[in-house]
């Protein structure tokens, strides 16, 4: 390529050191693609002036309203001409990853070949919402780039006030803590919202995330409007051989300090092996001929700690499913919100179970679409209207698992109390 490189003394400093360097990668692309030469020029300018120079705009593919992040340079000379013309348009295609972010090298190579033809050759695996980000394409090439990626079986993700791209953990494909089929659930739910992903028309963004157990490797509770976090209802399962293996390697001090004492609800007790016994709600495992653990599962909150420490020796139960939480988000506008429980447990074992989850998700997104203010996340809506109004709106029953504590102030009108008790009792007797 005859386009000469701009001097990049500051970026050059990021080529040394042991961690892989994106600058070295960009320079290699610059040898073949003038767009990246100018991208480096603009980026070096940012490093020098400590200012950003991209502005948004409107670019999309035929039939879709979202999924492309348009970027036009604002770095222009006195005549309004771009200082780095080959990177004056540098849009991103957000593309939804397969669940668990598994790939064959065959498909990765095809995606690379395509992006080299139409775009800059720079791809991020992955963005913070989970998208594969194909970074750097001119407006005129966006459609052709998308068409090829689309023909390879991939589709655009969300942007703007839309249902967004989702992520699920490695889950059942390689993790013993998996409590539901994360990949299938992720795909089933998200593919039920494609219209809301491709044609943004919600009050603001809406994110789903799927974690297979309460370790929540996808950070669903803090980062998604609707979090699906795996859990189980029955007793923790045990495997004596693996528990003994842990004890043989670690001894009594570690067992006490790292396992028994770190149980947040004191559900685990160290007992003499000779006296230890399992019960209807008690898991028991001998760790040696002398010592055993007893876990009162009614007191266990499924935090995962002891299972993480004695992996395999202790394991999630067999009656698995998920807890659903709603309303997680970061600061803007009212401050950080965690997702909070709206369904303590639901089975996710069958297609029918997953359809129930889709149905719940639809009710929640519909409620969001109709009731949220512009630029308000569902967590903020709930903060504004109260959880009870939200639950009534999406037809969910209240449950004491939804609160950390009951109310601590008397500022509530309770003249409907007797009717409410009667309604609950009637419902109970109907269920019995």
């Amino acid at each position: 390529m005859d386009k000469s490189m701009h001097p990049t003394p500051m970026l050059d400093e990021l080529e040394s050191g042991p961690w892989p360097s994106f600058v070295t990668g960009l320079k290699r692309l610059a040898g073949e693609n003038p767009m990246v030469v100018d991208l480096l020029g603009q980026l070096e300018t940012s490093y020098r002036t400590r200012k950003g120079y991209w502005k948004g705009g409107t670019v999309s593919v035929f039939g879709y309203g979202g999924g492309i992040i348009p970027r036009f340079t604002e770095l222009k000379d006195a005549d309004g001409k771009p200082q780095f013309p080959d990177a004056a348009e540098f849009h991103t295609l957000r593309v939804m990853p397969p669940a668990g972010m598994h790939y064959s090298t065959d498909v990765l190579r095809k995606l690379c070949d395509s992006w080299e033809r139409h775009g800059s050759g720079l791809i991020a695996f992955h963005g913070q919402s989970g998208d594969i980000m194909f970074q750097g394409v001119r407006s005129e090439n966006v459609q052709a780039a998308f068409d090829e990626i689309n023909e390879l079986g991939f589709d655009l993700g969300g942007a703007g006030p839309a249902v967004r791209t989702s992520m699920s953990c490695v889950g059942a494909s390689r993790c013993e803590q998996s409590c539901y089929d994360e990949g299938k659930t992720h795909r089933t739910v998200i593919n039920s919202f494609l219209d809301d992903i491709h044609r943004p028309s919600l009050p603001y963004k809406f994110k789903f995330k799927f974690s297979g157990c309460p370790n929540d490797c996808m950070n669903a509770i803090q980062r998604s409007d609707m979090a699906v976090i795996g859990t189980w209802r029955d007793n923790i399962r045990t495997d004596e051989a693996l528990a003994r293996k842990y004890f043989a390697a670690h001894g009594l001090n570690d067992l006490v300090n790292d396992v028994v004492n770190r149980c947040p609800t004191k559900a685990i007790r160290l007992v003499k092996a000779a006296e230890a016994k399992a019960g209807p709600s008690v898991s028991m495992v001998k760790v040696s001929d002398e010592h055993a653990l007893e876990i009162e599962n009614r007191d266990c909150v499924r935090c995962m700690h002891c299972i993480n420490v004695i992996t395999g020796g202790l394991a999630p139960g067999a009656d698995k499913g998920a807890t659903i939480l709603v309303g997680g988000k970061r600061t803007l506008k009212i401050g950080d919100l965690m997702g909070t429980v709206v369904v303590p447990f639901m089975k996710l074992a069958t297609d029918e179970d997953r359809e129930k989850l889709v149905d719940l998700a639809k009710r929640i997104v519909d409620f969001f679409a109709e009731n949220a203010l512009e630029h308000e996340r569902i967590g903020e809506t709930i903060e504004r209207i109260g959880l009870v109004n939200f639950l009534e709106g999406v037809e969910l029953e209240i449950d004491a698992n939804m609160v950390a504590t009951p109310r601590t102030n008397p500022y509530v009108r309770t003249d409907g109390w007797d009717e409410e008790v009667a309604r609950i009792n009637a419902k109970k007797s109907q269920a019995a």
């Binding site: 892989p20 980026l43 120079y53 090298t105 720079l122 695996f125 909150v301």
Partner: protein, 360 residues
């Protein structure tokens, strides 16, 4: 423009692709049937299925923003050792699965030789979750990939070892929206001055009522400036959050000198032990100093190594501070506890010490 065709191609709205064709054969055969795992060495996970089958996953760090040549190098390695399958973690690490233990060492050698650090498992400092920054964002106060590269160079040895009390997750964010997310230690731009408004542009560029509504403290109001409809900011009320800047670019919040970094600690999304926690601001006023941001690295390392030295096994950073208390956190790290760290936002009284619990 390219020659316009009469009917553009209609998208196949296929959504999330089926991952089944992409799964490594051992994973496919043992889907949902895994029994336990251990870690034979940093960077390697060894999973055992109820069927008795085993798989070794070798994890390596990447630069996340990858050129196609880097991706092809990774594909070449996967074709040689891992039957042509890979996966990525949420922190942009790549994983190669192999069904035979004998392939692990040569795979690690190939990755190391190609410049990819093997690690990021267990009690390591994993790759930093990060954002786009100057490379691609329209509202960045700083860069992301560069700051991450600089810090990971410094923390390289903590990535390839598992020497921490528990896992350590880091994130960086180039504005207060914090796309990098919650982390044990997070590095986030903190603006310190109200937006500078270009009144000539506001009327044409910004939907003024939407901008007014966006402000968390109602500091923005419509105004006529030099005869033009614009917006003004009550600078006494303004908390410099930058929320007005994305919907109204003429309200420039980024400031090369006055946009600083803040450091936050103790975010944890896992339910293990205590409930999930949000991170807390513990330092601010740190200069935005490319290309290597040394002042940021210094504070992050001070916090990290104080935690490493002082925390007990399995304590995440938040668990450690729960035990030692905030006064000792500031004492041990040498960070000043200033009035700006006492929360005064809504619900802030819940963050005050409503007890006589004092550690001496």
């Amino acid at each position: 423009m390219a020659t316009a065709t009469a009917t553009p191609r209609r998208a196949i709205e296929s959504g999330v692709p089926d991952n089944t064709p992409f799964l490594h054969p051992v994973l496919k055969r043992n889907y949902g049937n895994w029994k336990y795992h251990d870690r034979p060495r940093p960077g390697v996970l060894h999973h055992v299925s109820h069927s008795g089958e085993e798989v070794w996953s070798v994890r390596a760090g990447t630069q996340r923003q990858m050129d196609v040549h880097t991706i092809r190098t990774l594909c070449d390695i996967a074709d040689r050792f891992a039957e042509g399958h890979v996966r990525f973690t949420i922190r942009s690490n790549i994983e190669f699965m192999v069904g035979e233990e004998s392939k692990v060492a040569p795979l690690i050698e190939a990755l190391t030789k190609a410049g990819f650090p093997v690690g990021g498992t267990g009690n390591s400092v994993s790759m930093i979750a990060h954002t786009q920054g100057w490379l691609h964002c329209d509202i960045p106060g700083t860069d992301a990939s560069g700051a991450v590269k600089a810090l990971m160079d410094e923390l390289y040895h903590e990535f390839i070892r598992e020497d921490m009390p528990n896992r350590v997750h880091l994130s960086t964010s180039c504005c207060e929206i914090n796309c990098g997310g919650q982390a044990d230690i997070a590095i986030i731009i903190q603006h310190t001055k109200p937006p500078k408004i270009n009144h000539d542009l506001v009327a044409n560029v910004c939907e003024r009522p939407a901008v007014v509504a966006r402000c968390p403290v109602a500091a923005i109001r419509p105004a006529l400036v030099n005869g033009k409809p614009s917006l003004e900011v009550d600078e006494k009320k303004c908390i410099c959050c930058g929320a007005c800047y994305p919907p109204c670019p003429p309200m420039q919040i980024n400031d090369p000198d006055n946009s600083k970094f803040a450091i936050w600690v103790g975010g944890k999304n896992s339910n293990a032990r205590g409930k999930p926690t949000f991170m807390k601001m513990v330092a601010s006023g740190i200069p935005n100093n490319p290309p290597r941001w040394p002042e940021v690295s210094e504070i992050v390392k001070k916090i990290l190594y104080t935690y490493k030295e002082d925390a007990r096994p399995w304590e995440r950073l938040s668990d450690w501070v729960d035990r030692i208390g905030w006064p000792r956190f500031f004492e041990r790290t040498g960070l000043p506890f200033t009035k700006y760290l006492i929360d005064d936002w809504r619900g802030s009284r819940a963050s005050l010490n409503a007890s006589a619990h004092i550690r001496f």
